[in-house]
């Protein structure tokens, strides 16, 4: 696989998910194979039954954000602000300790902003211009989560938000690594955030997606703190793992599928821990391509979403012992596909 030069270290991580707040409850649920998904109330699922979702029910924004500030944020922004704070603390990074223009953020955001857009438009359709709420409009943009987190913690480095099917977080992590590689930043917060609303469930239900790609949809946020290994060592940070390579292909060309898979995996044929993310029908082409001692599907435990790759990568890193090789294979219907390689710990 294409290796990063210089090496990229993972020095912190945090997650908010259906399992609770933090990496630990999600990791415990994953290892014990205990699903945190719960039944979707029937009235939300357009009368259909038997569907589950991964709501982050234990998340209370005011546990992390002052109430007045929390009220102004959409749910995805609340997740991002809380999780970035936890990740910075995990990495031992105190606000003001590093030049703010050398710390950036790259997030995948799936449905971020959609809830506010729906509420804003509903006001207009129900009451005309007098029903418009200017307060709602700014947080209808998908980059609101990353931007609100950057405002909260003074992150003035590169700031970017991606959406690309179920690989939104992986897209952002690739960009974060490149920005570190190029020296555009010294530290990057990278991962993904997604929210899940009754309106989205209604949309999934009427389009038939509750049976398909939106089955077991979840919400939450997963953030990694990434930095060049040399930078991390210099500041005495604990290195949880090394992000050794990221490969991607947009889709598997009919008739040349194996070439695409080879490009995705390159020489990697085995690993200790293999995580699959994205809807299970979408990962089918990747099954059996890599041998692994342990294979896990975090989506079965906490729900999958367009940007849950950040949570999954945090879990993969946390589950590796020093020297162990981990691989996250992410897939979306119609593509893209991502392969992210992680080495546990960091050689002295």
């Amino acid at each position: 696989m294409d290796c990063f030069a210089p090496a990229i270290a993972i020095t912190g991580s945090a997650a908010i998910s259906a399992a609770g707040n933090g990496i630990k409850p999600a990791l415990e649920a994953l290892i014990s194979d205990t699903s945190c998904l719960k039944p979707i109330p029937e009235d939300l699922a357009a009368g259909t039954t038997g569907h589950c979702w991964g709501k982050a029910d234990q998340f209370k924004a005011t546990d992390f954000i002052p109430p007045l500030k929390a009220r102004k944020l959409d749910r995805a922004s609340q997740f991002a602000v809380a999780t970035v704070g936890l990740a910075l603390a995990d990495a031992g990074i105190v606000k003001g300790a590093f030049p703010s223009d050398r710390i950036g953020i790259a997030l995948g955001s799936g449905f971020g902003g959609i809830a506010n857009a729906s509420e804003f438009l509903s006001g207009y359709y129900q009451a005309g211009v007098s029903g418009l709420s200017p307060m709602l409009f700014p947080n209808t943009v998908a980059n609101a989560a990353a931007s609100n987190a950057s405002i909260e913690y003074g992150l003035q480095g590169p700031n970017i938000t991606f959406i690309q099917r179920f690989c939104s977080a992986e897209s952002a992590i690739l960009a974060a690594c490149r920005f570190l590689e190029e020296g555009r930043a010294d530290i990057m917060l990278a991962g993904g955030v997604d929210e899940l609303t009754p309106q989205m469930i209604r949309g999934f239900a009427v389009t038939g997606q509750l049976h398909r790609f939106a089955a077991g949809f979840g919400e939450g946020c997963g953030i990694l703190v990434l930095e060049r290994a040399e930078h991390a060592r210099k500041r005495g940070a604990a290195i949880a793992g090394q992000l050794t390579a990221i490969n991607t292909v947009g889709f598997l060309l009919p008739g040349a599928e194996q070439q695409g898979i080879n490009q995705l995996l390159q020489p990697l044929k085995s690993c200790n821990q293999l995580f699959f993310t994205g809807p299970e029908p979408a990962v089918q082409p990747l099954l059996g391509t890599v041998e692994a001692a342990t294979i896990r599907y975090p989506g079965r435990i906490i729900g999958s979403s367009l940007a849950m790759g950040g949570v999954a990568l945090g879990l993969l890193t946390a589950s590796l012992r020093p020297g162990e090789q981990g691989l996250q294979l992410a897939a979306s219907p119609e593509g893209p596909y991502y392969a992210i390689s992680v080495l546990g710990g960091y050689p002295a």
Binding site: V129, P138, I163
Partner: protein, 409 residues
């Protein structure tokens, strides 16, 4: 080893001012605005009823009936512009399909269609659920990649009004880093009630055609459209005999970390991104001939951007025209950065600095050269193109004319 130079080998656009690259070149050089009354949806409740809509648009000219059913207006505009750029570059078949990627800056995606569904839900007249399938802005990159057979990187950037400027910069990065050999990159965004009502609710829409940097300006005029570029590494492009249309010399992006809607007032962050872009490009400040401003025409943006240019160029600031093509195209939000980058390349190659239209008088807080009096010829071959966005996402591109190929940059 010097970094790879990235060349532009294809251009495409459809927007409210023009439907093709030749027509857009004419609009940019002649200063022909596409801003006019809107009829895409009902705007009668708003004080501003104008915008830069793609007029007389008939999807049947470009798509089959099945495609029209499955593609949002944004997806359609994206495909039209992407097809033009790819045809111009003749890049198909020149690289392994897994070595050609697609990167798009998006905004509202298929919101226009989702709005129809929402209206139906609220009025108990259920609309076709299929209207929701194209809601998210990543649909455009997927449909383009599949139609054109580009199986490399596939990604969409959603940083509001800087999305597509960033998408172009990131695409160049993917080539520089060796991950891809060619990239189709740009942006697409259609008009929607969400953005039209939203900017009106914030009271930043001018009831008259926007007048960037002018006294009495009241805000922006919204637009829609798409624009794309094909990027390749210079030597590879030359080896295959591609026509070099210009250079993407460098870019930078930062977060202001200041406020969701208001720009950082001193212009320090915007200045930082312009300086970083020039440093990344290896371009000296005195090589920059002019700047295609973000230049929305809102009272605040235009002052802040002027402040930023003063911080970057110091005493020379007044000699670096800061022009805005948004008076021609409207503010196309997620597509704005790409449309303006294409406009900049067309103007650079013509040796023209475009005019900033709709001058209403001198604003004492905007005391630079904004090209209000008309377009002019120039021998300079490098321009900056700025994009600012909600959330403080700021991106700056450094673009060079095709004539740079004769120079060592």
């Amino acid at each position: 080893m010097s970094p790879k130079r990235i060349v532009i080998t294809g251009l495409g656009t459809i927007n409210g001012a023009a439907g093709t690259i030749p027509a857009f070149q004419e609009a940019i050089l002649q200063g022909t605005s596409g801003i006019a009354p809107l009829d895409l949806f009902d705007v009668s409740q708003f004080p501003a009823r104008i915008g830069c809509q793609v007029k007389g648009y008939d999807p049947a000219e470009y798509f089959t009936r099945r495609q029209i059913t499955h593609l949002s207006r944004t997806d359609q505009l994206a495909l039209i512009a992407a097809r033009e750029a790819v045809a111009m570059s003749d890049v198909t078949g020149c690289y392994d399909p897994y070595q050609i990627g697609v990167c798009i800056g998006g905004g509202v995606g298929g919101m226009l269609h989702a709005e129809a569904w929402l209206q139906g839900e609220l009025s108990n007249k259920p609309a076709r659920p299929g209207l929701l399938r194209t809601l998210l802005p990543d649909c455009s990159s997927t449909v383009i990649a599949h139609e054109l057979g580009f199986a490399g990187f596939q990604g969409s950037i959603t940083t509001a009004c800087s999305s597509s400027g960033t998408a172009i910069g990131w695409a160049a990065d993917l080539i520089r880093s060796g991950r891809q050999q060619a990239m189709l990159c740009g942006g697409a965004d259609a008009l929607a009630m969400l953005t039209f009502a939203g900017f009106n609710a914030l009271k930043v829409v001018d009831p008259n055609p926007c007048a960037p940097f002018s006294a009495g300006r009241q805000g922006l005029s919204l637009g829609e459209g798409a624009a794309f570029m094909v990027l390749e590494e210079e030597q590879a492009a030359r080896s295959r005999g591609a026509q070099i249309l210009g250079y993407l010399l460098g870019y930078a992006l930062v977060g202001e970390a200041h406020h969701m809607t208001a720009p950082e007032p001193t212009g320090e962050a915007a200045a930082r991104v312009m300086n970083a872009a020039l440093a990344a490009a290896g371009v000296a400040h005195d090589q920059v001939g002019w700047i295609n401003a973000h230049g929305t025409g809102t009272p605040l943006n235009d002052v802040v951007e002027s402040n930023a240019v003063k911080l970057v160029f110091g005493e020379r600031a007044g000699k670096v025209p800061l022009i805005s093509t948004k008076a021609i195209t409207g503010h196309c939000l997620g597509a704005a950065g790409a449309i303006e980058a294409v406009a900049s390349v067309l103007a650079l190659n013509a040796g023209i600095i475009p005019q900033t239209l709709h001058f209403r008088g001198v604003d004492p807080e905007c005391d630079l050269d904004y090209g209000h009096s008309g377009s002019r010829t120039t021998a300079t071959r490098i321009a900056l193109s700025n994009s600012f966005a909600f959330g403080g996402n700021v991106t700056s591109l450094v673009l060079g004319s095709a004539a740079l190929q004769q120079e060592v940059c």
